[in-house]
């Protein structure tokens, strides 16, 4: 028995009304299928990572060598030496300052958290319930959106 016949037999008893409707009535624009592959390839090309051609690489390499050589002229070499010494001086002083500032920032954040929690506990009666609920709902909505985004065939069947 052909598939078509098998499906028709299935429906004769179950759904005779449905059997009368054979098509969907959907149409597509003229030449849609003729142009679809070009449209898809345009999209593929527009989203592909740009490639560096070998010609450009060779050209760039030559110009790089030229630029490096020019830096060895006396006036540039002296200026570079000065900048290098200045940078070494700055970096030698930086780590201790950074560690100190990080530690201060962490202590401030820790104190802030403690203070906030304490304040909330002491004044929980004063908080607006709808505000708390809306905050929870928005978090839940975001979570659901992420889950639904990942919903796929596996979850459906």
């Amino acid at each position: 028995m052909s598939k078509k016949k098998e499906i028709q037999n299935e429906l004769e008893e179950l759904a005779p009304e449905l059997l009368k409707i054979e098509e969907t009535g959907f149409e597509v624009p003229d030449n849609y299928f003729e142009l679809l592959s070009d449209t898809v390839f345009k999209r593929i090309e527009s989203t592909a990572a740009p490639e560096t051609s070998s010609v450009n690489t060779i050209f760039d390499f030559g110009s790089w060598i030229h630029q490096i050589r020019s830096l060895f002229q006396p006036q540039y070499a002296l200026a570079l030496l000065g900048i290098a010494l200045l940078l070494i001086g700055i970096f030698a002083l930086m780590p201790s300052q950074k560690i100190a500032s990080d530690a201060t920032a962490n202590r401030d954040i820790a104190l802030e958290d403690e203070e906030i929690l304490q304040y909330v506990e002491e004044n929980i009666e004063d908080f607006d319930e709808s505000l708390l609920l809306s905050s929870l709902e928005s978090q839940e909505e975001e979570y659901l959106e992420i889950l639904l985004e990942e919903a796929s065939l596996e979850e459906l069947f």
């Binding site: 598939k3 759904a15 098509e23 597509v28 390839f41």
Partner: protein, 193 residues
Amino acid sequence: MIKFYKLQSATHEVTDEQILVLCHQPAQIEKGFRLLMVKYQEKLYWHVRRLVIEHEDANDVIQNVFVKAYRGIEGFKGKSKLYTWLYRIATNEAITFLNRKKRRRTSSIDEEEHDLANRLKADDYFDGNEAQIKLQQALTTLPDKQKIVFNMRYFEEMSYKEMSAVLETSVGALKASYHHAVKKIERHLLEER
């Protein structure tokens, strides 16, 4: 306008194996993929269109399907049939689209049904009669799972075995889904008379 009929009569000579050989060679991938598109684009488009209904939406979804297939074809090792793999991508993309649309929707199912009839009547790419509009309205009342199973069986005339390969579900479960879908649609069509 190109009319859609339940079965496409066009046959394409190129085999999946030939397409895959081309797609797995970097210099030939575009040629291979264009052949793949010629062979499957209509079937996949109509599969998506019946789920998302409007042409503009189907056009967006089918482009995403082929972009994803192009990016994945290199890694496709032929564990499943090529058309099964493509159908899975297409179904997944259509479901993702429908889920996003549902999240944005603020109207009830009844309003959605009424709205759909108006949208179809105004649609340049719909030339159906009242019975076809009623069928689309009935389909909006089905859960996505039943809608997919119904479309694959009723319009695409797929066997339960083929559907089982695409949806990775047992034949028994698919028969039950189809049975429920058909009964609901029939009831809807009779109520609307």
